[in-house]
Symmetry: C2
Subunit: 211 residues, 2 copies
């Protein structure tokens, strides 16, 4: 019997402003063996964005059909635009033994966790709220009002992290990437994911050392 190893669904999430986008980009650069889960959206492509690369750009009717057919792992409607995670692509890659990274906000991650508890849930934390504030400010485009709101939301989001499997502090991108990579490697060593190793030795025993 040839038991093909399932890939891991790696969900990286964290409060807004924690820098999960940068960390995930660098993780994928350092680990090209990990695939990236591409979201579907009904918003218009921005300049330079490519269908099937940055997003799957869908019409509203197509997206709603996917919702109705249960073809999305999670979805949300943000200011009139749909965003979601197509399930089929993920399942195909996982069956193929490939790890997939899903970078997603805390709300989305919570919904994914309900449907896919066997995933690997990694929560990215800022080293301090002060750092988080500086990062949100650094984006520049914020008014004082919206900055306050975003920071308040982020602080509330932190609590959610207690439901994850692992927590990684994003003090430097490089360190955070290395820590996440170690968590992924360790998860691959779990006994439940390595029954093929036992099976191999049992077969060798039957063949060469008597039953």
């Amino acid at each position: 019997m040839n038991m093909k190893k399932q890939g891991l669904l790696i969900v990286v999430s964290g409060p807004s402003g924690t820098g999960k986008g940068t960390v995930c980009d660098e993780l994928l650069k350092a680990h090209p063996e990990i695939a990236y889960s591409i979201s579907a959206t009904t918003r218009s492509p921005r300049e330079g964005e490519k269908d099937g690369e940055n997003y799957y750009f869908l019409k509203k009717e197509q997206f709603e059909q996917m919702i109705n057919r249960g073809e999305l792992l999670e979805w949300a409607n943000v200011y009139g635009n749909y965003y979601g995670t197509p399930l089929k692509k993920i399942q195909e890659k996982l069956s193929d033994g490939q790890d997939i990274l899903l970078e997603i906000d805390t709300q989305g991650a919570m919904n994914v966790q309900k449907k896919f508890p066997e995933g690997l849930y990694i929560f990215l934390l800022p080293p301090s709220l002060k750092t988080l504030e500086e990062r949100i400010r650094g984006r520049g485009s914020e008014t004082d009002e919206s900055l306050k709101r975003r920071l308040g939301n982020a602080v509330n989001e932190i609590e959610v992290g207690k439901n994850y499997n692992y927590v990684v502090v994003n003090d430097t991108v490089d360190a955070a990437v290395k820590r996440i990579a170690m968590v992924i490697d360790a998860e691959h060593r779990r006994v439940v994911r390595n029954m093929d190793l036992f099976e191999k030795l049992e077969n060798e025993k039957k063949l060469n050392y008597g039953a």
Copy 2:
């Protein structure tokens, strides 16, 4: 409140001849921050062995007193000599936040797991039974009879590994050490072991961002 982090009890075990002694020695060399759990025994010290370094050398009466007082995490009587793991030293170091490595046979590890399920159980596998046979042969001192018995036992022991948390193949010592180190690092990132990080941010929130 200052929540001191507990250390991890890292149990490395595996079939006889898998090379767990060498792997553990190299792991400790590469990671001097990990303490080693010293066993107690009633056998006589061999040349060069030091009390409190290689073993705690005890008299039979002292050892039996420890058994009766429940002061051993596990113990066994092998050909008339007692061997066991003193519990108190381990508890002290864990409370102090220090990781402790316990290298132990599969029988002992099973007993430890019953008493200490929160430990980290890592099973070392040989890449093949052929390799295992060569390693046992390589020790030289075996008769054909005892080699056969040892190999048979080792093969039966492999099944036990399915009850562990992680499995690491000892194809090369260096690779096995690195994999174990990654598992230990990852375990330290588990959310349950990092509630202090959440607490720190919650305190910062109360102090600087209003309750």
